[in-house]
């Protein structure tokens, strides 16, 4: 019989008097890849904190390796031997891969560090999973995929039997994700257990043995191996219905306008320059299959990189991206990166209005009328709430409403669905659709396709040493990767045939 690696039994946990997890039950077996699908993010960070550290519980018990490590009676507040891999690296920058894996671990007692010995020690681990990472590379130079692998190896070397991967699919490309899944299966075969947290049920259904659904800090449902189908996920059905409706509508009623902008860029790693044009109301997804290319594209959008030649034109005139009200950029995880916490709600909302309405800061009337107009949509309460205290949903609405008020011709969105739970993914999807409906062109830049295919009219794939590859909506069914929402296009193709 398989051993149980981790178990949470009737766990209730409070933070600042607020119940974050309630009657929470979860068990992960040896060699199992358990999926974890948060319908909303409530209680998610508390859950991760409890995995890492034994904090005081209100009720329940936590077992690791069949040993009681935390209970409502006694909490030792010590760290667990569980590896949690998240968006934010836990590797120490300025140190090498070998140092991070071997030297910075509990129980390392040598005083004299011999890099050659560390290199030799690391070699079999790398060979085992068939990857090539230099032991002497500094961790800050690693790609996102390599960083995840180093963290994974660090956990394996430290003897952690449970490895938690949180939202990794939003950090790496489809190919890299496939490799990662392969490596996970490899270690699962050796008895390591994985908790795979992600808001994309497509990944989870594909690679996990079982899956749990968490909502409002409670486990709502456990999907057993025979139940691992999208039909068993109520929230997924709702989203599915929404996207199907949109696609049907789009099929019957194409509303694309004239050209909104044209882009030309000589991206260093690509064989040919990148060129694309976007029409008003059109959505283009640009998938970067190489991290360097993704980085270069981000540099263009965020820093207006000058190291290589690129050009954006609107109405046959060269335009800048920064400081140009005709173009807007929505940074990834926009609720953390795009708001001004010290400014009030109205200032945040009207921030990009000053070029359209010069007197917006001088006269209160403009802001008053905007408040009246948007109060109906956003709710009156938000205007008196400090930015830090807004709900995640309200923050998303604020960022996207600010762009709507700006009325740009084109919006560049960098990984808009990254870090968003199921409910917020639906919200972001709706907000992006609003842009398209108002004739604003949307260009989504992504490493992983996530939900972009549900909105995109075209997909452009960029890879190292290759020319850009373009797929129109009609060709989506033939995309050679497994991406969310692809099944809709494949179903459509089958129906036609």
């Amino acid at each position: 019989m398989r051993k149980e690696i981790f178990r949470m039994e009737r766990v209730s946990y409070q933070e600042n008097g607020i119940m974050m997890l309630e009657d929470f039950n979860l068990n992960v077996m040896e060699g199992e890849i358990m999926g974890f699908l948060p319908v909303n993010s409530y209680g998610m960070s508390a859950f991760l904190r409890l995995l890492k550290t034994n904090l005081s519980l209100e009720d329940g018990h936590i077992y690791y390796h069949e040993e009681l490590i935390n209970s409502w009676k006694e909490s030792r507040r010590n760290n667990n031997r569980i590896t949690v891999i998240q968006n934010r690296s836990c590797l120490v920058e300025g140190m090498t891969v070998a140092d991070n894996i071997f030297v910075l671990r509990q129980g390392f007692k040598k005083n004299l560090i011999q890099p050659a010995v560390l290199r030799k020690q690391l070699e079999p681990f790398l060979q085992d999973i068939g990857v090539n990472i230099s032991a002497d590379a500094y961790v800050e130079k690693l790609s996102a995929f390599e960083r995840i692998l180093v963290e994974l190896l660090k956990g394996i070397v430290a003897g952690h039997r449970l490895i938690v991967l949180c939202e990794t699919s939003t950090l790496i490309s489809g190919d890299e994700l496939r490799k990662l899944h392969h490596i996970m299966h490899h270690y699962a075969g050796q008895g390591y257990a994985f908790l795979y947290i992600g808001s994309h049920y497509e990944d989870i259904l594909q690679i996990c043995d079982r899956a749990v659904l968490m909502s409002n800090g409670r486990i709502e449902k456990v999907l057993q191996p025979r139940e691992m189908f999208a039909e068993n996920l109520l929230c997924a059905q709702e989203y599915d219905k929404m996207v199907r409706g949109y696609l049907n509508d789009k099929r019957n009623n194409v509303k694309l306008g004239k050209q909104a902008c044209a882009f030309y860029g000589e991206i260093p790693l690509m064989k040919d320059p990148l060129r694309f044009q976007v029409l008003q109301g059109e959505c283009i997804a640009i998938q970067c299959l190489n991290n360097r290319i993704y980085h270069d594209m981000c540099q263009i959008l965020l820093e207006e990189e000058q190291a290589f030649h690129w050009h954006l034109s609107m109405e046959d005139r060269g335009e800048k991206i920064q400081g140009n009200r005709k173009a807007a950029v929505i940074q990834e995880q926009c609720t953390h990166t795009m708001l001004f916490p010290e400014l009030n709600y109205m200032d945040n909302l009207c921030f990009n209005l000053d070029k359209r309405m010069k007197n917006v800061w001088l006269t209160g009337n403009i802001r008053k009328s905007i408040r009246q107009e948007y109060g109906k949509i956003l709710g009156e309460d938000v205007f008196a709430t400090p930015i830090d205290e807004l709900h995640e949903r309200q923050k998303y609405q604020l960022v996207y409403s600010r762009i709507l008020l700006q009325k740009p011709k084109v919006v560049f969105c960098i990984q808009p669905f990254k870090g968003a739970d199921m409910q917020h993914r639906m919200l972001i999807w709706e907000l992006l659709e609003q842009f398209l409906e108002r004739g604003i062109a949307v260009v989504i830049l992504a490493v992983n396709l996530a939900d972009t295919l549900s909105l995109a009219d075209r997909l452009i794939c960029l890879d190292k040493g290759k020319a850009q590859k373009e797929y129109s909506r009609e060709d989506f069914a033939s995309i050679p990767v497994l991406a969310p929402w692809l099944y809709l296009y494949r179903e459509e193709k089958r129906e036609k045939e």
Binding site: L302, Q322, G323, N324, R325, V329, I330, Q331, H336, T337, M338, L339, F340, P341, E342, L343, N344, D347, F351, N352, D354, K355, K358, W361, L362, E380, A384, D388, R402
Partner: protein, 338 residues
Amino acid sequence: MNKNKKNPFKKLLAIRGMGGALTAFAGLIIIYCAFGLINNTVFTGQNIMNLLRSMSKYLLIGIAQSFVLITGNIDLSIGSMAGMSAMIAATLMTLGVNPALAIIITLISCLIVGVVNGFLVGKFKLPPFIATLGTMFVTRGVAYMVNGNRNTDAIATGVGKDVADKFQNFFYYGTTLGIYNTFWIAIATFIVFFFLLSKTRTGRHIYAIGSNVDAAKLSGVNVVATTTKAYLVSAICSCIVGLILCAQAGMGNMEAGNMYEMYGVAAGVIGGVSPLGGTGILLGTLAGASVWQTLENGLNMVGAQVGIQRIVIGIIVVFAVLLDVVIRTGQLGKKRKN
């Protein structure tokens, strides 16, 4: 019905930085009354006049530092710039240059330092502490060199007694409506920059880059230009303070404005301007400068030693920053939310 309409005080407090300003004003009233009860001279008209005049310098320096602090930076060159301004203006006047022309040349010199500071911090991304530390030494060096490493003679020796008197009266000794001109100059400057900060696009951009510089960039804010504008405001105020110091002494002193940059930080911080950037209003700086000067004045009146005065002021500055941290994070020792 809107909750805000029910409670005007809550509405007032909802204004960014108003909480800090009101706290400082409340503190000012308490301190003033306390000293007044100990020594009645504090309440006399002449003392109030003197208080307003000496407060004006701190107010101007406070405005200078507040603008930079709100952008999340700091300007350590303010005091030296004031010294440089005093020395350049005095030297030119001792050479017989018309005071108006001397003021223009002085202003241009200070503006150049402001632009350099803005570019070093905004464009070349130098840590503001280091960049302005450098310009602090440079400007103090200029103050020394401008008259050959010595203080200037009385400005009257160059431009004549009448013109020198006019200059000194305009900036320091003269009165309008019974109040010293220094105060009116400070208040006029305050109103201009208060308007700039609260009612203009530049003002919003200054708050924005102090609050979230990346978001500001993505929203089309020219960070270099905005940072430079903040340092320019700082340079203008420092220049005016230098001219006031020159008018007060009737000559140029190489050490004029020493430590003023720190007085500026204190005035801003006591008034609720956050050293972390993004928060604060100039009304708070006005209150902060008044608290500072009232304390100095009051402690003098009650015969406290200079050492005691410094200790009390130091404690108040630390307390004000601590209050800011507590307000921002909700409790002591808790990390700021990212």
